[in-house]
């Protein structure tokens, strides 16, 4: 067996290994030797061996075979062995290892050792890797040490108690009295430990927090002593007396003063004193000031003190030290919501920090600048933000772009400014914007109707310069397709006039179509735009036809489909081309889906309005009988509907425009009931079967709008429940059903159900309506349909 080398020689040998392989060889030899040594019983070099193993462990090699050796060495009576043994325990054992339990007994014995350095080893190890069980076992010992020992041990016991409380929450109660007593110690180490312990107890248990509020005057006293008293060589750091303790006390005061007026009042003076007297030339002074500012802003301090705190942060912003500027911005970010005006005063400095070299500082400055944007400073702030966007690091681009969009949306002073800003962002950082920017921008542009000419000119120019930014190209194509006629007209109030010929425009769109930089979506936009121009230009329609037919055999399926459909539009449906490709209406943001307002089962989805959306598949040939087509949509062939003799007989059978007499007819059936006051427009009974009657009255609202009121009543002897109405109208008519007044029709017409239907008939087609009636009577579900071909009052 090779003799083991001393630790230092081994380290030298490892370091002189020239390759990884050589190093591994040396380490393997050494580990073998160490393992052999471990197997031997007591010899003088045990601590050296373990130290060597720990070195090897630090280099990243496995060292678990040393765990039992640590346990043995901890139990050894020799101090040198205990020292290394405990160090090994802290490095190799943790609470997840089983071997850690074996040292509990040794720690317990060492805690009551006569030598304080042995005690300190045990305390240190317990605080480093003590598991919950070990903590529970040894907590009473720690408490004993907290009360009666010298200050060297007391300070360690305090931190050990902190670890125990973190592991086992309930034991906090055990240490509270001792912690209180420790506050009257003079030794700074003990005081520090006590403050940490009290902080930990208060953070975990609100009742303990209440109890410790009484200590605020003591803490204030201690703090005053530190701040005012003269030079103390033992604790002085660059002129500040024990900054570590000061910061901890300030933190504890923060926790105690939060949400508590009385405690906050008690510390007001002290905080003001610390804020004004602390020397801020060195980092250490700034550390104390920083903690003071955090405390002032968190407790219920008086306004003068808050202003002082924000001013300190403002001074930090001007500091040469980058760290201090970073800290200042983080703190300002936290209070920008509550003390907005105070932070606004420093806006200039914050905006300057956008130009700082450091990436962390830039990020903080961006967050803060976006938070400070308001209606009054939007123009100047946006200028700065756009400059920042053009030179900012790539990882901040997306955040900056979305922040700018949000700010522009909330505070835009004018639509033209808004559109300009968005265009600017798209040209500088178009690749980093979110996907919903394109539809949002399109919606914005359609809303700004007087700026269409200006917008399309600007976008055209942008398209000519650069077709790589996909979002920008998509929006530009859409606009050119939509407002191409404005572009070709040439003159525009807001920008210099430029002559654009139809060929130029088509050239631009073709470039986008053919460029390999365009994404499939962008090419789709370009193709549709080209198609739309066919109705807006006069001379080059043939050119468009040829472009469209070329793409009929394109590999990209989406483009091919579009091209084929547009080709069909040219060929078979040329008469409809103008209508299909006309200007889009203003798009409403979040337009509510039209529903028929019913909560009942089988709600029929409303027939979508007839306005053809761009790019949609072509309309099927219009059937002669439009309403018949709707039957399919009502879900179910006619056979399933109950044959309703009423259908054929009631419509022609019923008198039209009976006005009040219809109500009178019903009255006879209903007997003694008062007629419900009919709407001013004449009512007409449209359905009558099994005692269920449906009357309809309508009122013209506008040139194309009509309000129809359907009233249902039950003249039979049995009650009707779950009464619902569904309606269908021809495709070009828009239907909106409001919620019915109810869904039950008691017998003998005791109550009626009314439902209002709003119709919009812009194309003035022949108005027809098919109504399906469904209800439950005596447990049986019944359904019926009635067609209304003529409306009274129309």
């Amino acid at each position: 067996m090779s003799p083991s080398v001393p630790l230092q020689e081994m380290i030298r040998a490892i370091r002189s290994a020239r390759t990884q392989c050589e190093e591994r060889g040396v380490i393997q030899r050494e580990c073998a030797a160490i393992r052999a040594q471990f197997r031997q019983s007591d010899n003088g070099g045990r601590s050296h061996n373990l130290a060597k193993l720990l070195y090897v462990h630090m280099l990243g090699y496995p060292a678990h075979f040393g765990q039992m050796e640590c346990v043995r060495m901890i139990a050894s009576p020799r101090y040198s062995e205990k020292r290394v043994g405990y160090l090994g325990a802290m490095m190799l054992l943790d609470e997840k290892q089983d071997a850690s339990l074996l040292i509990t007994n040794s720690i317990k014995n060492d805690l009551s050792h006569s030598n304080q350095y042995v005690q300190s080893l045990a305390l240190c190890t317990l605080a480093c890797m003590g598991s919950a069980e070990m903590c529970r076992d040894l907590a009473p010992e720690i408490d004993r040490l907290l009360r009666a020992s010298n200050s060297y041990i007391k300070k360690k016991a305090a931190l050990c108690a902190v670890h125990i409380v973190r592991k086992v929450n309930d034991l906090g109660e055990l240490f509270a009295p001792a912690a209180r007593a420790l506050l009257s110690e003079k030794n700074h180490g003990v005081l520090h430990g006590a403050v940490v312990l009290i902080t930990e107890l208060c953070e975990r248990n609100p009742e303990t927090l209440e109890r410790f509020r009484k200590t605020v005057p003591d803490l204030v006293q201690i703090m005053k002593g530190l701040v005012i008293s003269g030079y103390s060589p033992e604790h002085d750091v660059a002129g500040i007396s024990d900054p570590f303790l000061q910061v901890r006390i300030l933190r504890l005061l923060r926790i105690l003063g939060r949400n508590n007026e009385a405690a906050s009042d008690a510390m007001n003076d002290l905080l003001a004193q610390v804020a004004t007297n602390t020397d801020s030339t060195k980092t250490v002074g700034n550390a104390v000031l920083y903690e003071t500012v955090l405390t002032v802003l968190d407790i219920k301090s008086e306004s003068g003190l808050r202003v002082l705190a924000v001013n300190i942060l403002g001074r930090f912003l001007l500091n040469n030290d980058r760290n201090i500027r970073y800290i200042a911005m983080i703190s300002l970010q936290k209070i920008v919501g509550t003390d907005h005006n105070a932070v606004q005063r420093h806006r200039g400095t914050i905006v300057d920090c956008l130009k700082d070299q450091d990436a962390s500082v830039k990020r903080r400055a961006l967050d803060l600048s976006l938070a400070l944007v308001s209606a009054s400073n939007i123009r100047s702030m946006m200028k700065e933000l756009l400059i920042f966007l053009s030179s900012c690091p790539p990882e901040l681009r997306a955040q900056a772009a979305s922040g700018i969009f949000n700010a522009a949306e909330r505070y835009a002073p004018s639509q033209r400014w808004h559109i300009d800003t968005i265009l600017h962002v798209l040209t500088t950082a178009g690749g980093d914007v979110r996907d919903e920017t394109v539809p949002n921008l399109i919606q914005l542009i359609t809303n700004a109707s007087e700026l269409h000419c200006y917008t399309v000119h600007k976008l055209y120019r942008a398209l000519l310069t650069d077709i790589t930014q996909q979002s920008l190209v998509q929006v530009a194509c859409w606009c050119i397709g939509e407002y191409g006629d404005l572009l070709l007209r040439g003159e525009c109030q807001e920008t210099e006039p430029v002559q654009v010929t139809e060929d130029d425009v088509l050239d631009a769109l073709e470039t986008v179509l053919q460029s390999h930089m365009s994404s499939p979506t962008t090419r789709g936009f370009a193709l549709t735009a080209t198609m739309k121009l066919s109705t807006r230009i006069t001379d080059n329609v043939d050119r468009i036809r040829s472009i469209v037919s070329i793409y009929g055999s394109c590999i990209d399926v989406e483009l091919q489909q579009r091209a084929v459909e547009y080709n069909a539009l040219f060929k078979k449906y040329d008469h409809m081309r103008a209508a299909v490709l006309e200007r889009m209406p203003v798009i409403e943001k979040n337009s509510p889906g039209h529903t028929n307002g019913e909560s009942a089962v089988e709600t029929l989805k409303e027939i979508p309005p007839a306005k053809v959306k761009q790019g949609e598949s072509l309309l099927p040939p219009q059937p002669t009988n439009q309403v018949c087509d709707l039957l399919g949509l009502l879900g179910g062939p006619e056979e399933t509907l109950q044959p309703s003799p009423a259908l054929s007989s009631s419509a022609p059978g019923l008198p039209v425009n009976t006005g009040g007499t219809a109500g009178g007819d019903l009255l006879d059936l209903l007997g003694e009931l008062e007629p419900t006051p009919v709407a001013p427009a004449p009512a007409m009974s449209v359905y009558e079967k099994d005692g269920v009657t449906l009357t309809l009255s309508c009122e013209k609202q506008s040139d194309s709008g009509l309000t129809v009121t359907l009233t249902a009543s039950n003249t039979a002897d049995s009650d009707i429940s779950s009464f619902t109405l569904q309606a269908a109208v021809p495709k070009s008519v828009q239907l909106h059903m409001k919620a019915p007044s109810g869904d039950s029709l008691p017998a003998q017409g005791a109550a009626k159900v009314t439902q209002i239907v709003i119709l919009n008939n812009p194309n003035k087609v022949n108005l027809k309506m098919r109504v399906r009636v469904s209800y439950t009577r005596q447990g049986a579900a019944i359904q019926d349909t009635v067609q209304i071909d003529s409306f009274p009052g129309l």
């Binding site: 101090y79 040198s80 160090l87 997840k96 520090h192 570590f244 970073y326 800290i327 962390s360």
Partner: protein, 154 residues
Amino acid sequence: MMRFLLLFSRQGKLRLQKWFTPMTEREKKKIIRDMTSMVLSRQPRSCNFLHWKDLKIIYKRYASLYFCLAIENQENELLALEVIHRYVELLDKYFGNVCELDIIFNFEKAYFILDEFLMGGEIQETSKQTVNRSIEASDMLQETMEEYMSKPAF
């Protein structure tokens, strides 16, 4: 509370690691890799503070060694810089003009000093002299015990 303290060289070799919360070996290795790559890639005159997961990382370079300390979110970063500086001062006093080699060849002493200064993720002693005195006394105890043990008993 401090979560861990790492010392590594410009080449990324680890010289000291102190963990204040229990973690598996795999987690430790991963953290060491992350920290070394993050810190070593920083520009020379940038901010000393980083964000990593939910912790704040404070790092400072002293000659050829990087000191990297991870603290929880509510801690004071500027004070963490002072903690690092205090530890360097303690090492300097003990070794006399400390350099990286001292820490390499006497790593267990560096740990002993650290254990007198920090404990359980918190500062244990705020006075430099007290820490130095404790270390000297412990060393004395170790030597005298060894001498005593190695002397033949009569």
